[in-house]
Subunit: 390 residues, 2 copies
Amino acid sequence: MLGNFVYSNPTTLYFGEEAKKNLAEALKGFGKRVLLTYGGGSIKRNGIYDDVVSVLKDAGKEIVELSGVMPNPTLEKVQEGSEIVRANNIDLILAVGGGSTVDYAKAVSVTAGYDGDAWQRYWVEQADLEPSQKLTPIGVVLTMAGTGSEMNGGSVITNHDKKLKIGRGFPDEVSPRFAVMNPRYTFTVPQRQMVAGIFDTMSHIMEQYFSGDDDSTSDYIAEGLMRSLIHSSRVAIKNPEDYEARSNIMWTATWGISSIVGSGKPQDWEVHMIGHAIGAYTNATHGFTLSAVSPTYYRHMTYNETKRFARFAQVVWGINPDGKTEKQLALEGIDALASWIDEIGAANNLSSLGVTEDMFDGIADATIIAGNGYKRLDRDELISILRESM
Amino acid sequence: MLGNFVYSNPTTLYFGEEAKKNLAEALKGFGKRVLLTYGGGSIKRNGIYDDVVSVLKDAGKEIVELSGVMPNPTLEKVQEGSEIVRANNIDLILAVGGGSTVDYAKAVSVTAGYDGDAWQRYWVEQADLEPSQKLTPIGVVLTMAGTGSEMNGGSVITNHDKKLKIGRGFPDEVSPRFAVMNPRYTFTVPQRQMVAGIFDTMSHIMEQYFSGDDDSTSDYIAEGLMRSLIHSSRVAIKNPEDYEARSNIMWTATWGISSIVGSGKPQDWEVHMIGHAIGAYTNATHGFTLSAVSPTYYRHMTYNETKRFARFAQVVWGINPDGKTEKQLALEGIDALASWIDEIGAANNLSSLGVTEDMFDGIADATIIAGNGYKRLDRDELISILRESM
């Protein structure tokens, strides 16, 4: 059933190959002073940096650059960005990159206009924004598909001192005002990163989908998105430059964590909480922390949610239900998920990500602090899931 | 494949049972002078009118009323509304009703701020809005599901003098700023109207879905929406007060004609063009003009689009493909659609809607004038389709 909710979407998406033209159009209406932020410099090698800078210059913008945004953006890096935004009176933060860079831009926007202890307030207490708070608008040129951060208010930041990696879902005001989405910009992403993004998207959809046996349109949309993603992942693994497949993967990622899939539904997100905790201990690639624990986690969940997992097996994986119990069918669906993880080359165990047994207690505690999880797991079951995922 | 497109959505949706609270929230930020427009007065019998007026009064709004919006809104009625908006310096047009009332509000908003011949310019020539044109913002309290008009720029107006019923897709500025969507408000809609709305939604999705054999995420979303709609229609036919089913039908209708299903895709809309032409001659209920011609039209289309129709049969209707040719499978899918039309009690022939053979020439001509249709039919084939649909 669809519960009560409010749906709105402040982000304009410019999708397709004409990224320079689209960026020029998107920049209209924003002020002169642009903070151009990006990661490790791959955008300089693949030409995206040149595209963006030429459009910014043609539009008469003054550019302040901030590079070196890391895959798991840290609080220190956020503080550096906030100071630059304040010192330069920035009108627009332009994030060029994948989810990390976009998440980072949101954290900078939120913290630049707040004087107190932003980590404590926004990430630990998950408090509301100040009504009077100045937010610097954000634009995105997306170069990796997966997190969906280009069209929502989500932001995940890591505090290494406290060994915590925590996500926030900020309101519309923090969401990017626009995102330029050119599937060709994702062609040069290393295959390993492409696969991590694909699994991240799959996990977003699953964590909203496995939530009760009611009948909700949102779940049918989720099934469609998962079927499309699985199909396109198989094409893209063989040919990363297949525009059709890469465009579908990019579009699926955006909608996979927009509120359409979760509208009016309870949601889980426990796999993401475990994954974030693992990320704080190992700096492992986000999508792989999810793939490494998902089959085990979901096998634990089938004890409660057999019917929904049986539907998953049939509709998403096309498994024939004849002669099978609901429980058998449910487990076959999870086996299909595990086989697909192997097929596309996502991580299928935690050991390969550098997790060691001595981290279990800390990861379990960090997961519990992060909250969420629509069936609250106790510490012992969390540790069992980690052990079985090694 | 996803072609190039821009996606944006200016409408905030307040979904769920708390309609009065939601309307009060939605009204914030709009001016004092509200044009309250609605249809034949059913909202006075079912209590929705009282809900809305009490919220408007509590918010201190000045109300100007304009009732009598007909199921197929006429140009004359639009002109009446435009004059009222101008004379009263209206700040917000609040449409309380279904698609006709919402379409009407858009036509009033567009024409009130334009001095020339609005019919010729916007409906016949399909011209752009004047850049300087004043548009009165629109809000919606939705009481019927089907058209999806609550979250797009579409508006269909009938000109009886010219025997033309023509739709426009206006840009974001014309779309409703908000829509209050309470599934309970649809409980008192007569079953016949509920069914017409369900088929209208199904047709919107099909007309975007039957368009080429490429692989696009949009089509997987469309399949999910169709499966949800078919399932919920069967529940709602038996129990119109099943909140779960009615909420899914309402939500499916909104997304069925939002740009998500059609993003980056060629689109057809020929069934809608035929249906509008029939509407101009008979004043028949919109959804039934579509159900009466769809199976025939799609059987004509399978000569070109066999593969897509075979996919429709399998994925949407769950038909087993074993031992069947693609063509057989395609036709079985359309048979399943025709059976469903009978099952839910939608019109399955044109004679029952008052269409007579002497109207065929005029309906065919009006369809051709309306344009659209991604495989352009000639006059003879249009007339064959009409004859076979009798």
